[in-house]
Subunit: 207 residues, 4 copies
DNA sequence: CAATAACCGAGACGGTACGTCAGGTCTTTTC
DNA sequence: GAAAAGACCTGACGTACCGTCTCGGTTATTG
């Protein structure tokens, strides 16, 4: 949340801000989205309930901010030297994130809520989705520099393709972890990457 | 929900049952998961609130049942004669389902809630996930019969592979439709299918 | 508050009703009007806060009912055999009521609030004022029967006169007790009665 | 409230002082005691909320001051030449004051609050009650000078008597106006005065 | 055909959380 | 150092649902 606009008056406490976000993540992990209450967050953060409402319009917005802060910390793309290595790396990092109960509960819930609330969706897009998508673009760039992928010719087609790859990677990992409920380990990441790069036949060829 | 267990006494009204499920879906589409209330569903169904609790333990269970009924109706796998055609077909059917606001709101919300509640997860798995997975298995069977895929040798590997394909297809479509918020149209389905079958290079080769 | 109108549904608990009124009076005596809170009353009565709101629209209405119940108990007119005796009696009884801290706090506060809220005023009139006024009418009747006052001739004039006497007695006692803050004892009641019956000169004549 | 105490620093704005009292009275008339808020008063007076608390300890004290200023303006005793005329005059003036909505709301509320708060009661006594009582003493003095009442003999008895008359006049008028809710007009004032001077029989004699 | 058992509607019950508002205090910057 | 601005904590407000619990009444099956 942007700090206050004006310059006069008592400034908002910065400690309170981070204490609240921290408390939100803890509560989220323990209780899950629906059982999380503003009162509870306020109590954990050692802050009055009104202070929450002064800074965030409601539960949804608060949680989105709290979750977004999580992704910033850990979503980095390690340069492994090959496209396959990069994909496996980002898949494993993302999966690692989804193993933390606070992220599990929050991410899907935030998405679910955003299917109904356009303002929330925009917030989710800016705070979460776009940040992840940037990773795909960077990996693609590197692969081109290494000659693993042909240089860009049609910009529009290239953007469409990036979007597709992003949906495939993020969607599949989330589905595996949260819907199917199966672990995303190194072996699975290897198989998934082989399929992304070589397609279904390549996968079938060598189990 | 199974109808009554015992045999004596007044039987549960069957009309009430379907009226409730119908009302749940309508309310879900209008209000979304979190704003949906039992009172509201009861009022729409012309039924007392107690009747809901007599048949379902709570909101979660009711909604899962209501959503599961949706999937039964429309999830069929058309035999198009080729593996690519089958994939495109199921992608488009699934996407069509996700366009209906009641499904949009419900599916993710149910999944989100299930990340915290094992009982609910089991219910979701049985009522929704497994039913979708069956489609993948059937398609795979056909492709083998047509010689598009090699015959099964290692059963375990084959199962692992099916699971992966299922996660890729379902996950990507859901992510495209609900997270990225972009339309899943015939053109996209074609590109996605090409990538599933040929991998990233095949996709890049021909925009 | 009239019990529920309809006949269906679970009936309202009668114990709760009296427990609430009792708790209200206790809280009123301890805390006074402005510090009295619905939460507090609910806690004392061993009842959920919502139950209060189900039965009374708000604090004002609840307190009026609670106070009205007080007056019913104690406001009786003893037949002393003479008009002077009757007046002294009712003055002392009323003063005795005003000595109880719950009544002190409540009566004035209720009146104060009613100067702004016509609905509340009506409630106060019906529940408190009219009940007191009836005492004046009864005393007047007796005095006439005893020949202490001339028989009624003009009905309208008689009503006007009763109203005046009522205002004089009730107003003066309240003012003495709550505004001036002086005790209303037997001696004062005797002097006041002499003045009501004989006027200022009679009072001055014999200290 | 006494103007500034210290001598150094920025002096307190005198305009602010009267603006606040004016705003308090206006708000009181519009909203009544309980709905009146410091924030509201501050906003109306064009002053920061802090300024209020710098000058008055709280809401109660502010309102008492605001109301006391009202009484100073209008409570004068016209010399009508007779005791009856003096009483009628003061009754009508007082009633006129009670017709103003700001006074109606405020006076009773202040009294009600003071039944619980000794400090407030003292303030009310000094600022409001004593000032009214002085009128009674002055009227009594005049009546003695004119021979309408016997000269003072017993000082203590005389004080007791004044107190009684004060309670009767103020109490009855307030009760008529605020509790019974009936108008205090010239005709009523005449009847009331006759009763005060001649007692109940005198009243009954001639309707 | 009566008894019984489970249903149904209505609605009160104890709770929890909501989001708002007011009271008073504290902390900044500006005058 | 007063004043304006506004954040802060506390705690009450009235509302909305939750899931449970009586009620009076209504079907079915069983005896």
């Amino acid at each position: 949340m942007p700090p206050p606009a004006g310059r006069t008056g008592r400034p908002r406490s910065a400690e309170a801000h981070s204490a609240i976000l921290r408390a939100t993540r803890t509560a989220l992990a323990e209780l899950g989205w629906s059982r999380l209450s503003m009162s509870d967050v306020a109590a954990r953060a050692g802050v009055a309930r009104t202070t929450l409402y002064r800074r965030w319009p409601g539960k949804n917005e608060l949680v989105v901010d709290a979750v977004a802060a999580l992704l910033d910390e850990q979503l980095e793309l390690p340069d492994s030297g090959s496209l396959a290595g990069d994909i496996e790396g980002v898949v494993l990092r993302f999966a690692q994130l989804l193993e933390r109960p606070e992220t599990r509960s929050a991410l899907m819930a935030v998405v679910a809520e955003s299917t109904r609330d356009p303002a929330l969706r925009e917030r989710v897009t800016a705070a979460i989705v776009d940040r992840q998508k940037a990773l795909v673009l960077r990996g693609r760039e590197r692969a081109r520099a290494r000659g693993e992928l042909p240089p860009e010719t049609d910009e529009a087609a290239s953007a469409r393709e990036s979007d597709l790859v992003f949906d495939v990677i993020a969607g599949t990992v989330v589905h595996r972890a949260l819907v199917s409920g199966e672990p995303v380990d190194a072996e699975w990441a290897r198989r998934f990457t082989r399929m992304v790069l070589g397609g279904l036949p390549a996968l079938t060829a060598e189990g």
